[in-house]
């Protein structure tokens, strides 16, 4: 039966008509205990859904919908390595990347936990070598700069995480800096190379397929740069200045990366779910291997919660179904991610990929067009900065928006020797006060004020914008691991109910093919120009004209 025709969906439809009548002010007035009823904890995460436009009945109907769509069985399939990525006929086993080494998971007769930990150990040896200043460049000097070249899933996760955990000191015996380069046009790379000493620089080429154009273009530029300045042969440069991370060892070898410097992951790991594999190498380099393992442990903790908790208290499931409630029943199609901690600056961009590349789909698993909305538009920014940018729209615009507020409760508590930590602590409290204030105003509008008095109409706030607040006890590797896995499982749960495949991304393929064609036209091959639309052709001609000048 079509999803929207199902009894569960229809019941939610009816229920939504009553909820649409109520303002969040009413919901709080009618249920004084909702802040307890709708708040959940898993280890270092406290998740509060009470400012969502739901009542107890809503959650019941939503979990009914989830059950009717076999969510529990599908969760089992996910963890057991069934081929949940149906269109590509393979499992999606990012959860296996964080299994402790004493666990086992048989896939096609082999225990992949052994492979996972073998690669982690290989990565650990590389990390230790770099940390102990015993990885050497062509001159024999220790490597001090690591440039991670990757894009998409090979970039966003590590980049976000390294920023998030920047308070943790790098455990290297000497100064070691990790940089990220992703942009295809080489602008990030060329800017960075000006600052680096080639004999002390290591390039990490991260690409699941090892065919990603953006990454390989940057890798070639990096190789040229170091060859030109070193005056030693290519073999030596490749051996001592390049590490590869990929699911395609043959391609790494063809590039010239020695086997010792190859870190592997597998086709059953989706790119945007790959930071838990050796793609996390730059994370381990920056925070150390044991903290990287804490990150894995945090994610594993959320895995265990997701696979075992009943749907009614399963945080990723609740987050997912409340999202579906907002999107499909309350007609909200914009989702703002608002961390109140500057270290989480890259978290919105990370979620943009995780959610939109996963669930930005319009075809069901049985190859029908969906007749309901799927993934909304997700964007975000550090909350306090966004207050000075787009919050105006959240408060007084015409779009309905759902928000996730994310903040650590504690910060700067363990920094004894950092001068001014008291002042910094005050700044953190200031940020928290803004976090709570904004979610209040969004929910309650002017009613949040005790006395609205004679306020002119243009100063009024309607409120009733729903939000979830996620409090981390502290922004530790463990808590961050939990947080990311929470969203991963939320995305999976939504895909199950929407009946779409969250693990492929065919929508990005055509553009790659077209770019190839366009490139040949830009290079002067006119044989394909005939198939091109006049708009694009005109742009190309204009560009060629300008380049000749």
């Amino acid at each position: 039966m079509d999803l929207t025709q199902s009894a569960e969906w229809q019941r939610l439809k009816e229920h939504s008509a009553t909820i649409e009548q109520s303002h969040l002010n009413d919901l709080f007035r009618d249920d004084p205990a909702r802040q307890e009823r709708f708040a959940f904890r898993n280890q270092d995460l406290h998740v509060d859904f009470s400012k969502q436009r739901i009542v107890q009945e809503t959650l019941g109907l939503l979990t009914d919908l989830a059950r009717a769509n076999d969510l529990e069985a599908r969760i089992k399939d996910l963890f057991n390595g069934e081929k949940v990525n149906t269109f590509e006929n393979r499992p999606a086993l990012h959860s296996a990347l964080r299994l402790p080494d004493y666990r086992t998971l048989d896939i096609n007769g082999s225990d992949i936990v052994i492979d996972v930990h073998a690669q982690l150990s290989k990565m650990e040896r590389l990390v230790e070598r770099l940390h102990s200043a015993q990885a050497r460049g062509y001159s024999g000097r220790p490597i001090r700069n690591v440039v991670h070249i990757g894009v998409g899933g090979s970039d966003l996760g590590p980049l976000m995480t390294n920023r998030a955990l920047c308070d943790y000191p790098c455990p290297a015996s000497h100064p070691l800096e990790v940089f990220f380069v992703s942009s295809m046009d080489g602008s990030q790379l060329s800017l960075l190379l000006r600052k680096l000493e080639p004999s002390e620089t290591l390039f990490v080429i991260a690409s699941k397929s090892f065919t990603t154009l953006d990454t390989l273009a940057n890798a070639e530029t990096a190789k040229d740069w170091i060859m030109e300045r070193s005056n030693v042969d290519e073999r030596m440069i490749l051996q001592h200045h390049f590490v590869g991370i990929s699911a395609n060892p043959d391609k790494m070898t063809a590039f010239g990366i020695s086997e010792d410097n190859q870190l592997l992951f597998w086709d059953w790991v989706g790119g945007r779910y790959s930071m838990w594999s050796c793609i996390g190498f730059p994370i381990a380099l920056q925070i150390g291997m044991h903290r990287f393992r804490d990150l894995l442990a945090g994610a594993h903790c959320m895995d265990e919660h997701f696979r075992s908790a009943p749907l009614e208290s399963n945080i990723p499931v609740l987050m997912a179904v409340i999202g579906i409630w907002n999107i499909n029943f309350l007609d909200i199609h914009a989702h703002a991610v608002l961390p109140y901690d500057g270290r989480l600056a890259r978290f919105p961009a990370y979620l943009e990929q995780l959610e939109m590349e996963s669930n930005g789909k319009n075809t069901t698993l049985d190859l029908k067009s969906v007749d309901y909305a799927t993934c909304p538009i997700i964007w975000g920014e550090i909350g306090p900065n966004a207050q000075h940018a787009f919050y105006q729209l959240l408060h007084q615009g015409t779009e309905k928006v759902m928000c996730d507020f994310i903040a650590p409760a504690r910060r700067y508590n363990d920094i004894d020797d950092q001068k001014g930590s008291e002042v910094l602590r005050k700044q953190h409290i200031l940020a928290l006060s803004n976090c709570f204030a904004q979610s209040r105003v969004l929910a309650f509008g002017d009613h949040a004020l005790s006395d609205t008095g004679e306020v002119p109409f243009y100063k009024r706030y309607h409120g009733n914008q729903p939000s979830t607040t996620i409090l981390l006890d502290e922004l530790t590797p463990f808590a961050l691991g939990q947080l990311i896995a929470l969203y991963e499982h939320k995305v999976f749960t939504q895909s199950v109910i929407w009946r779409i495949n969250p693990f492929d991304q065919w929508g990005v393929e055509l553009g790659k093919v077209m770019a190839g064609e366009t490139l040949s036209v830009l290079h002067g091959d006119n044989s394909l120009a005939g198939q091109m639309d006049p708009s694009t052709l005109a742009l190309i001609n204009e560009t060629l004209k300008l380049q000749d000048k």
Binding site: R129, S132, Q134, R136, G140, M236
Partner: protein
């Protein structure tokens, strides 16, 4: 006099030996048994024998560090640079048990102003005082440098303490001593400044040597010219593969941090960084020679102590070289006349480290020979035989001890520091 020594480092043992020899009753927190069982490593030539004989005479006595003797004429502090708190607690403890005059001689440096802080613990009382006397110990000739320092610096404002110490110095060192009296703060400053000056000279000449290396210029010629200028002189201008030693390095770090904090100056930090890089200079030459493929190579190292004449390996360039080689899967074969025992303890169970009882044994079958510490006995060997027993005749001279032409005649492929390779 009755003297209690606090601390068990080389300076503490040196002071104990010499003070006991001149008739004092000296208490040291090390027993004759510790020396025998080698639980305490004595890296100074002659020191073990001196201590043993003083124990035998009964003037040198050991005590349990938990229960120091109650009374003494002089309390002598020889602690590590990071042990200020320990010093303060010793001072407070002794003060609480003693009425009347008290004399502490502090030879430790915990930073500039730390002796003043210790005096504050004593209530800044003229009669109960801590005097700072720089530790003039020089590794390899500790006893000699203790008895005959170039100058005796006394950092104190207490007249009776100064008189007592000058009288004692006359007995210990003879009458022709150059004695400089100043505040303890000035004395601490001067000690660290002197240390920094020496380090600067070494890093400067090393940086010049590295430059010369790439230009086909012989640094030895340049060095002789600089040293020939009377304003500069010849000391501490030998290019080489870096300097080490516990006290020298600790004090340099201490002063570098102090300069950084007070003046935002990175001058000494740079000096230290250059030296740390310099410690790997032989390794880098090796690396480049073998084009980064060192796995399976055998490398002989001559000299492991941080300088000749001592068994001390603290911060020695040999350690950086050995670490770097082992990390590349190189078999390292080391000879040192005194330091092998310390090396064995430092690298417990290292698979790729072979300790050799003769220089020839170390070089046997090696792909390269690295001279790291210029012990005199490495100067003249049967090089014909050594070359013929090596797998590859590569000689990396970290102290520019050998004549490049002569070594070439033996059949070596020779690299020095800042010299043209032959």
């Amino acid at each position: 006099m009755k003297i209690i020594i606090y601390g068990n480092n080389m300076s503490a043992m040196g002071a104990a030996g010499v003070l006991a020899r001149t008739g004092n009753t000296v208490y040291l927190p090390i027993s004759s048994h510790d020396l025998d069982s080698r639980r305490i490593s004595v890296t100074e030539p002659g020191l073990r024998g001196l201590l043993q004989s003083q124990f035998d005479s009964g003037r040198l006595r050991s005590y349990d560090p938990q229960h120091p003797p109650t009374e003494a004429d002089i309390h002598w502090l020889n602690l590590e640079s990071n042990a200020y708190d320990k010093a303060a607690s010793i001072v407070a403890d002794v003060a609480s048990r003693h009425e009347g005059r008290l004399l502490f001689i502090n030879q430790s440096i915990f930073g500039i102003g730390s002796t003043s802080r210790l005096n504050a613990v004593l209530g800044n009382d003229e009669q109960r005082t801590v005097v700072y006397i720089p530790d003039s110990l020089r590794g390899g000739r500790a006893l000699e440098s203790f008895i005959h320092p170039d100058q005796l610096v006394i950092g104190s404002d207490s007249q009776w303490a100064i008189s007592r110490i000058t009288a004692m110095a006359r007995v210990l060192m003879g009458t022709n001593q150059r004695i400089r009296i100043m505040s303890s703060q000035e004395a601490e400053f001067a000690t660290l400044a002197l240390n920094g000056m020496l380090a600067m000279r070494l890093s400067y000449i090393n940086e010049l040597a590295n430059l010369a290396d790439n230009m086909g210029i012989d640094i030895e010629t340049v060095r002789d010219t600089i040293a020939g200028d009377a304003r500069i002189g010849k000391h501490f201008l030998n290019p080489g593969c870096g300097f080490g030693g516990e006290k020298f390095s600790d004090h340099l770090l201490l002063f570098s941090d102090f300069l950084k904090e007070k003046r935002r100056s990175s001058l000494l930090r740079t000096v230290i960084d250059i030296n740390e890089r310099q410690k790997e200079t032989l390794f880098r030459k090796l690396w480049r020679h073998f084009q980064g493929n060192l796995k399976g190579c055998k490398v002989a190292i001559w000299g492991a102590s941080y300088k000749p004449g001592t068994a001390d390996i603290h911060n020695a360039p040999s350690l950086a070289t050995i670490d770097a080689c082992m990390a590349q899967g190189v078999e390292v074969r080391v000879h040192d006349p005194l330091a092998l025992q310390n090396l064995a303890e430092y690298y417990r169970n290292a698979e790729n480290l072979v300790l050799c009882s003769t220089p020839e044994q170390a070089a046997d079958g090696a792909d390269a020979l690295l001279l790291v510490t210029e012990w005199p006995e490495y100067g003249m060997r049967d090089f014909d035989r050594i070359v013929s027993n090596m797998r590859r005749p590569l000689l990396l001279d970290g102290r520019n001890v050998y004549d490049p032409g002569e070594m070439q005649d033996y059949g070596f492929h020779y690299h020095g520091i800042g010299r043209k390779a032959v």
